[in-house]
């Protein structure tokens, strides 16, 4: 894995190096760039050295977090830019991922269960449509319909600047806070689920889950109405309001892939003998569906979902461009269009790191979910 990562770094450097006419030195002729920045860039990338040393220098610099200066936003470094934009992307896409995964899994489950009925055909056609729909076009149409025609949601941007004129803090703090909030909530929910999983009786389990949900709601209500959070509430609400439409659009597009895959795996699982056994035992239909079939079908879906995180990063570029959500994807696209090479390199490498981490998590969670692998690796 580490080797793969080094190869990725080197090849991404070579890719940028292949830009004709040596984009580095070309852009250094930019009159807006002060001489000390010029020196700095020259030094950081070792532009007066042979290729091999430059690659070495780049890898070393990557671990130091030193990418020189951005050409466009001069005094800022690429790392600062990324640190500013990463929370926004993380916020948007963590929410989208969670929602689209659950809806996708649920729809796929129902689809496979109702095989051959008319509603199955209709849902399949809809999900195929949303799976293959030309995404930018669809997003623009939704933006037109909900943002312009109905006027329910704002058109683009992640906040109303007018509201933030006299704000005592900047948006990044709020973002960090919202991310913390979402993470804590999902961890609590997850704990509640794992605790209640061992309980066999359906009614007690359902009650525990329901109570935990209510408790979380009450807790978050108190959290947002006390102390520091109270002052920040309107600003957080502003950001949340701007997030609705992007989340909706991306969810509609993203859930279909999961749904279709769940349907396929689920259909294969339903052919297995133990489903027949479960039926013969007289277990209720819902229980067979949820506990016997869906559990087994979950495995490939989770794997593919983690693989699609890369695809989601891809999609984030488009989403952020269309909804003018100033995140990582937009940074990458803009820096490529402006030939702001240091920023583009830094952003591209970061996206690579992201994808690598996702793969790592995929490997680990795979062994966690599939007992066969876990047991085999233990001996």
């Amino acid at each position: 894995m580490i080797v793969v990562f080094f190869i990725f770094l080197v090849s991404s450097y070579l890719l940028f190096n292949a830009i004709p006419g040596n984009a580095f030195s070309n852009l250094l002729l930019n009159p807006n760039l002060p001489p000390d920045a010029y020196e700095k860039v020259l030094q950081t990338y070792g532009l007066d050295k042979p290729l091999f040393e430059r690659v070495q220098l780049y890898v070393v610099n990557f671990f130091k977090g030193d990418f020189g200066y951005s050409y466009k936003y001069y005094p800022q470094t690429p790392i600062e830019l990324i640190a500013e934009r990463l929370p926004r992307t993380l916020m948007l896409f963590s929410v989208v991922n969670i929602i689209s995964f659950y809806t996708g899994f649920f729809v796929g489950k129902v689809l496979a269960w109702r095989r051959g009925t008319k509603s199955e055909t209709w849902i399949t056609v809809t999900s195929v449509f949303s799976y293959t729909v030309f995404y930018p076009w669809f997003a623009l149409m939704m933006l037109w319909f909900f943002g312009y025609k109905l006027g329910w949601f704002p058109i683009g941007k992640f906040l109303y600047p007018e509201k933030w004129y006299d704000a005592p803090f900047d948006s990044d703090i709020i973002f960090a806070m919202m991310i913390k909030f979402v993470v804590v909530i999902s961890i609590l929910q997850f704990i509640a689920y794992t605790v209640s999983r061992g309980i066999e009786a359906l009614s007690i389990r359902r009650n525990i889950r329901f109570t935990s949900l209510v408790l979380i709601f009450i807790g978050s209500y108190f959290y947002w109405n006390t102390g520091e959070a109270l002052a920040r509430k309107p600003y957080a609400a502003d950001i949340a309001y701007h997030m609705i439409l992007p989340v909706l659009v991306v969810t509609i597009v993203a859930f279909a892939g999961t749904a279709l895959l769940t349907r396929t795996t689920m259909m294969e699982v339903l052919k297995e003998d133990y489903i027949l056994t479960a039926r013969a035992k007289g277990i209720s239909q819902k229980r067979i569906r949820d506990r016997h079939a869906a559990r087994t079908a979950l495995l490939p879906v989770v794997t593919s979902f983690i693989f699609t995180i890369v695809t989601i990063i891809d999609g984030s570029v488009l989403t952020e461009q269309i909804f003018s959500w100033p995140g990582m994807g937009q940074l990458l696209l803009q820096s490529v269009l402006n030939e702001d090479i240091p920023v583009a390199m830094a952003a591209f490498s970061f996206v690579g790191v992201f994808a690598l981490l996702a793969h790592l998590i995929a490997d680990i969670s795979y062994s966690y979910l599939d007992p066969r692998i876990r047991i085999k690796s233990q001996g």
Binding site: S11, W137, T264, V310, L318, F348
Partner: protein
Amino acid sequence: MQINEQKEKNLQKQLRREAINRNWKLFSQSKLGMIGLAIVTFFLFLALLQPVLFFTGLWSQGVYNPVVGYDRITETKLVVECPKEYPTPEYENYASCPGDGEVQKKMLYLAQGVEVGDMYEVYLQPAPPSIKHILGTDSLGRDVFSQIMEGSQVAFVLGLLSATLGVGISTILGTVAAFYGGRVDRYLMRQSDLVLMLPTLPLLFIISAFAELKIWHLAVVLGVIGGLGGSVITIKSQALQVKVKPFVDSARITGGSQRKIMFSHVLPNVAPLALLFMVFSVTGAIASESVLSFLGLLNIDMSWGLMIYLSQTDGFIFSGLEYWWLILPAGLSVTFLAGGFYLVGRGLDDVFNPRLRKR
């Protein structure tokens, strides 16, 4: 001897024909697959129709050329002057002036000697659909229907080229990995890990930033990325399953060379899966092309993505359905063709994956 060979060939031909018939029967049982096939055929027909129309002279290049064609559609309108304050007896508010069949005087600043109350001939761009232009014209007076046809040519060329290339690469690599194993296998798997890790779209941005991407360049890039990626792993696992079948062993015992076994015994059995991959990757290729040209990063004359890009930059996308012929046809074409290929893939899946068949 001669006769026997002839006989064997005939028998092979007959078997092949029977297999095709059987598979076709299975394929035609899946309704969604047939719908997909119909959509794909429709777009293929559109793509082929345009050159025919140009060649037979039914369409002249000057008017209907999707890139440089131009048609002047005029309409006679009444010249009016909008009032400074609303409401007036004629106009209720700001939006209702100029009304239907009217044109503001200050818009005609180039025309001399035009007074309020005159009739004046104005150019209609974009022009709404008419008999001459089935889907109207765009903001430069070009025929939208012809652009759609050109776009479907681009989509077919790109999709089929990149899919063929990608599947070719991944089939050969996957089979090689399964067959030789060991170090080759490990290397190939690491390589596809790396390619899977690459974020495709940002990579394409960067490539398009320094290279003027033409349509076939893009096809090659997409094909190589797709061919080295995850499909190698899937095809490898399929080939591993084939490799342990008895007929491979018997081929080895009768003295078949490694290469002979690989190409004439293992490859044909991997081919159905590869075909499936090909159909699905066409969907991806069409989408990538449209996205790139939607962002204005491709150096091509006309495509569906470019049509949406133009309608967005010209500011028609938020006009809603008033200028629907600029917005809907291109977007729906991308969606339907990609969906059509996807559905064909689903139909083929039913044919090649016997476990899923309805019985």
